[in-house]
Symmetry: C2
Amino acid sequence: MLEDWESLIAEMRKGSVRALARLITRIENRESGWMDAMQMIYSMTGKARVIGITGAPGSGKSTLTDRLARELFNRGFKIGIIAVDPSSPFSGGALLGDRLRMKEVSTLHDVFIRSMATRGALGGLNLSARDVVKILDAFGKDVILIETVGVGQDEIEVVKTADMVLVVCVPGMGDGIQAIKAGIMEIADIFIVNKADLDGTDQVVADIRAMLDLSADEISSQTPVLKTIASTGEGVVDLVTMMLVNFEAGRIRVSWSEERAKEEILSLLEKEISRNLQGRWARNGNLTEAVKQVIAHERDPYSIVQEMMMPLLQFNYSDR
Amino acid sequence: MLEDWESLIAEMRKGSVRALARLITRIENRESGWMDAMQMIYSMTGKARVIGITGAPGSGKSTLTDRLARELFNRGFKIGIIAVDPSSPFSGGALLGDRLRMKEVSTLHDVFIRSMATRGALGGLNLSARDVVKILDAFGKDVILIETVGVGQDEIEVVKTADMVLVVCVPGMGDGIQAIKAGIMEIADIFIVNKADLDGTDQVVADIRAMLDLSADEISSQTPVLKTIASTGEGVVDLVTMMLVNFEAGRIRVSWSEERAKEEILSLLEKEISRNLQGRWARNGNLTEAVKQVIAHERDPYSIVQEMMMPLLQFNYSDR
């Protein structure tokens, strides 16, 4: 089994896009041995820069991502794109949509696009996105763009795993500023006012600027606000230059790294313990029995969980 | 400690709103003994009906919730309202907003309003909302309205814990239909087109109807679509009547109950194990050490988690 992983990873490292895609799928599906595989992959990472792109629906994020990818590609970077799509929890992924939206960039040989649904990721969306980032990094991508379709908490958590976050706004959307208030301002490294040929552009820039200046947080008050027109590409060259300069200068929110490492370890642990216990209880029938009791109102979930946790609490394995 | 909880619960059962509010806060904060307290509370539940209200921002959900609460109150029901607010993950709750938005209903004696932020809930938002539902049920509320401010996955998960879900749309919002597509159609028991005095109302009703008719799911094709004008109260009496008739007739998505019980047990377990392990590792310094190693790129999160899980995997406690 491990050999299997090893040969797949070796193929991927040689540049096989097919092996890359299969590897991602197998890791996402948590196939047996996936953690050993990720350990191998992890040792090959550390080079790629990860850029998160978020903003209100309709702000032109996809077009901008497409343009950014092309510009970075033209400057010689190898690009990976992860599109996080809040697709229906009931109907699965949304690959087609992304393919359509990113039709320009997807014709470029060295750009790899992967679509992820916010639901159904076995390891949780944050963890899955981080896995894919690492695999793309190990594959040799220089820059990985993570584009979110929505602005929900799930999506915010995902872009927070990036090294640099772009927040995209547009003129004429009352909700734009509201979305920013909902926790987005604090994560933005660069604000972008897209569709900057529309009326009200300067007002939105001024509003964002004012909000940033009011911030007690010193980093926020220095956050740049750029104008772009993604449909024509206007402003994209300047944006890419600024992004690269910021990376060079280390002007990114590195302060997150400790919090992020901690969060990553703990969510991984939580998910794995849960998967492990679910697997066991599914096999021995305990879960089915517990569910029946709860539905019949014979027992409550709290006492069931307390009983299930008892051995864990007694087993003093934290002191190893 | 347990005595403490017991007297607080007894006070709450006698009708003390102060005890109710304190109880919710202590449960939300996961104070020592909270699971035993929830076990006691659980045995007092099972009467309340839970209604989830969701829809795009700007669709008038708050005003509609206010109207619904008043109408139900007038018919003799005791009402609890849980407002789920996607407030900033950095700045905490948003009580004031809800108080302002629901100023009419909050003057009624028998309506209890609780605001919850989508971030910061120690047990995760779904679990916390379910705890609050149970406490309000034990307090003697007949109907509990859960209103979400956004339409992210978090909010969808919360309304899915309700017995009946109302999805609110408005005319003239292109995003309305889009939001519905993103997993909402499948959870709606009743569709509401609010602000039905606006142009385009009949078109939205027809669009939703067409979408429901196209659905392969038989329940969806029978989902009613109602028009309301929450600001004047028009249509609210009919809506409440339909809700009550549906409850009487059992026309609610009871098929969820098994999935829901399973999900509740497993998320509770997952969160509790995680809290337990985090507490231990925070105390013994293992986590700090692991975080340092990951940041220094000396170790990877996968091998750390595998090592941490080793004793759990060896301890065969699933067979008790």
